[in-house]
Symmetry: C2
Subunit: 186 residues, 2 copies
């Protein structure tokens, strides 16, 4: 229920359209909360009804018209209220890890194939985050500090995942050896 708060956090900095927000959810804040454009437009509608945001209608030519949203004082109040009360622990829902937990039903090759795919993805992310973090190191604004800390979390997370994947690989290699030394395993 804090899609609304993620939106308000983004609107703190600048006026933005739903489209702009969707792009940021695919990048920066998407690292910790993701949402699709449908959810965003819907939530912007609700936030507007509750006058936590307001918008100006911008006609454009060559492009569709857009609505530029900005946070209101009520919105800012809601944000600070939310920031003060403790957040519920995030619910975990990692399908890939369910597969690992049920891994004894798969053969090692199938698991390793998917592990390698995920590894590529994580490595890419790590590069993206590291590049973004490197850019921040020069400037020293208060907001950048929190962007930096968010990125740090992402970086450490990817690194840890990659380390874990290495452990899985060597464990599965050993498993293969044992499977081949004992002709038909139970």
């Amino acid at each position: 229920m804090s899609l609304r708060h993620a939106i308000l956090v983004l609107l703190q900095d600048q006026e933005a359209s739903g489209y702009d927000l969707a792009r940021e959810f695919a990048n920066s804040i998407g690292l910790v909360w993701n949402a699709t454009h449908q959810q965003i437009y819907l939530e912007l509608g609700k936030l507007n009804d509750q006058s936590m945001v307001k918008y100006r209608h911008i006609p454009q030519d060559g492009k569709p018209d857009k609505k530029l949203y900005r946070i209101t004082d009520e919105g800012r109040d809601e944000l600070t209220r939310w920031l003060r009360k403790p957040a519920a622990p995030p619910r975990v829902r990692d399908a890939f890890m369910v597969k690992i937990a049920g891994g004894s039903m798969s053969d090692s090759a199938t698991i390793i194939r998917e592990l390698d795919d995920q590894t590529d993805l994580r490595r890419e992310r790590l590069n993206t985050f590291e590049a973004l973090a490197a850019k921040l190191n020069d400037t020293h604004q208060d907001r950048d500090l929190f962007t930096y800390l968010t990125l740090r979390r992402g970086i450490l997370d990817q690194q840890t995942w990659l380390r874990w994947a290495d452990e899985v690989r060597s464990a599965l290699e050993k498993r293969e050896e044992q499977a081949s030394s004992v002709p038909t395993s139970v």
Copy 2:
């Protein structure tokens, strides 16, 4: 959509009631996928309708009757089919991290208070996982290997989180120093 698969993974090993499964979702597999009893009973109903599980009704005295579910061949087929096709990347939804991203609106003390609460929680989890992993090291069954790998993921995750929290603490301490040296900051 893989609550069903998480349930099937659990039923691989033993016959269990909805209540038993709920307990395991609060422990072992809850590390990677969590669900409440309502979801579980509902999903067991659906799985039964689709004959992926079946149950025996066990009357008890002193306690309410229960239904012991077991996986069927159809259920096992469904599981192996699912295990073979790639899982979608998990979507992140971490409210606490949204707070960090919007941290420039809070004062450091408020953030650190919540950080400390989360730290306690993570440390507790780390201990639990480490204790469980230590128990596994003796036996060497194939299933234990995957339980171990799942636990390893949890352990590395908690450790990384704790390391990150330390970084946040020192960054916020520096921030405080700067805030006090410059009387009224923007």
